[in-house]
Subunit: 371 residues, 2 copies
């Protein structure tokens, strides 16, 4: 087994609810707390298990909401108390990752941090490890480094990263400079990207020296940066932390790290990328969840849940069972059925993206009790 | 208001579970106990209400299983105790209707009885009444009389009755002799029947003098007839009834009244028919239920249930809500969703007939707890 990386700290922002996976994903049971692969583990736990060989158990931090503290500690019994960074409310990814960078930079000035979403699915862990080890080597040289997934199909569901020239860094034979980011394309463009092979999926993974990351934030958003430093200064003093969070956190600008760090760095030629050759999925909706759990065979019915009682006759798609009820499906194709104690969803893969609209409608019509 | 018919007794066989309406219809909550029209009443109660102006409240008998006694009496608080005929187990329609005929014939030798299913839906009650009054007039003349529904479309879901020559009976201007019965036709044949107008839907309604009905049974099934007479003799003696039922009922041949009475009578030219001009539906499956509750508009989503919490986006079909759960339907067409405490069904109108197969499979796989 290779050793963990000495100067590396992994950061897991565990924030989003995953509205497109309602009613499975909820405010009090967000996506990262669910087992979406049938592995028996939550996505958060799987993320931890992937990062542990790279960082070691004492060097993985989680940034999450106060409400999820107990659930996170329950999932990750090995996490040191000082590595759970609690937000009083969601302030987007620059604040979340920037806070971790600021705290860890105070503890360890030369640290390289890597930020990895709590709710993505990755298969073939040794390929993931190899990408991260390369990315850390690149980050040490002062680059912001991302890992872009080598596409396995012409997907219109993800943003893309355009690779440019190779970057000569020891220990990172696949490193390249990023030319630019591209928004989710239409199908024709996606097909061209897939054929080209210099376009990678943007999986939102960032690896950088904490000081480099903070310098980018300072250049783009000086007030936000100042707030983060002030928070970090108070953080490791138990008496000062709470009041500082209550005072400063709610004032921080809500902005994604793509805009404060990744795109500005790319514009300056300071964003690098390592291609990821592992299977990756952000499980963005029930269509992806169905695909992920059907072994890639569209004629299958994927079944998720503990002790599901499902009887199907010529049904395909996915059924998620969170109750003890018998679920009977007859002749429904590409169906999505999510059965929970207080809410039931029936749709199809084709309409999976519209689940978010239902969540919005439930809020507006006073039925937020089931969100 | 016209008076009830002096010599008429209505009989409601309330037997079938309605497997094609599972999981709404159950062994302990059969179809006839449900409100399937949104009227606020069970089908059984609606049947009673339709018959009361014709027979009067003291002259309607219900033949049902012992297990349903309390539910039936709860639905029909006006029913005299002596008019609830309890079966110890289902023995098909000749036994059920024949038992009523035998008991009522002992009480009143010249009585005309009319048998009407407990779980059909009929609209425009005064047209129904007019058909029944004509049928009673015909029955008094010694005919077995049925009411055949004038088709409103070329249905392949029902059997047909072919009308022959007119029958001259006072008070029954529409009476005709039945030429023959026809099984459920294919679509082309159904279209020809619909155009012809001398083919009527067989709705399983029979009106006859009790003695005439019993004589038909005696001619076809003498042992069954003897058993029914023996039961009837014991019936109105509380001490004799129970032992007689336990001893005789389980030995009675299971056979539909179509074979013991209707077809033999038709063969002899002794079966008459009155056309029914009312809306009639046997609500045979969820496709009929959807149609019945969508105002005939296929772009509607029909919703059945008490205080349903349904949120739909571009969904059509039917949802039956028996729980307090929020049900969300997105982009599903002609869908059938039946949500009960212990079982969930998801199918489409097209596959509604296959629900019975699921019920059979649940039995075979040891999940009869939800039947």
């Amino acid at each position: 087994m290779p050793e963990p990386i000495d100067d590396f700290y992994a950061v897991i922002p565990a924030g989003g609810i995953g509205s497109r996976l309602w009613p499975l994903s909820r405010a009090d049971a967000p996506k990262f707390l669910h087992d979406l692969t049938g592995s028996g583990n939550s996505l958060l736990r799987d993320t931890w298990d992937r990062l542990e060989p790279l960082a070691g158990p004492g060097r993985i931090a989680v940034v999450t909401g106060r409400a999820h503290r107990a659930a996170v500690e329950d999932q990750l019994p090995g996490i040191p108390d000082v590595n759970v960074f609690l937000e009083s409310e969601p302030r987007d990814s620059t604040a979340a990752i920037g806070l971790a960078a600021a705290i860890l930079h105070r503890r360890e000035p030369d640290v390289v941090i890597g930020s990895f979403a709590a709710d993505h699915v990755i298969r073939v862990p040794h390929l993931f490890e190899w990408s991260v080890r390369q990315a850390v080597a690149v980050a040490r040289e002062g680059y912001i480094c991302t890992i872009g997934i080598q596409p396995s199909e012409a997907s219109v569901g993800f943003g893309y990263i355009k690779k440019a020239g190779e970057l000569l860094v020891d220990g990172a034979p696949e490193a390249a400079v990023v030319e630019r980011f591209v928004e989710k394309p239409d199908l024709e463009t996606a097909k061209a990207y897939f054929a080209d092979r210099s376009y990678l999926w943007n999986a939102g993974m960032f690896i950088a020296r904490a000081d480099v990351l903070l310098a980018e934030i300072a250049a783009q958003e000086p007030e936000l940066h100042a707030g983060l430093l002030e928070l970090a200064e108070a953080w490791d003093d138990r008496e000062l932390r709470g009041p500082a969070v209550d005072r400063i956190w709610p004032t921080l600008k809500k902005i994604a790290i793509d805009y404060t760090v990744a795109e500005p760095a790319a514009a300056k030629g300071r964003l690098a990328v390592i291609p990821g050759h592992f299977d990756w999925d952000d499980v963005g909706d029930f269509a992806s969840l169905a695909k992920l759990n059907s072994g890639g065979r569209s004629e299958n019915l994927a079944i998720l849940g503990q002790n599901p009682r499902v009887l199907s006759d010529a049904a395909t798609g996915i059924v998620v069972s969170q109750t003890k009820r018998v679920i009977s499906l007859i002749g429904v194709r590409d169906i999505v059925v999510v059965d929970t104690d207080d809410a039931l969803l029936v749709t199809t893969s084709e309409h999976a993206q519209r689940v978010k609209g239902v969540v919005d409608a439930l809020k507006l019509t006073g039925r937020g009790d089931v969100l």
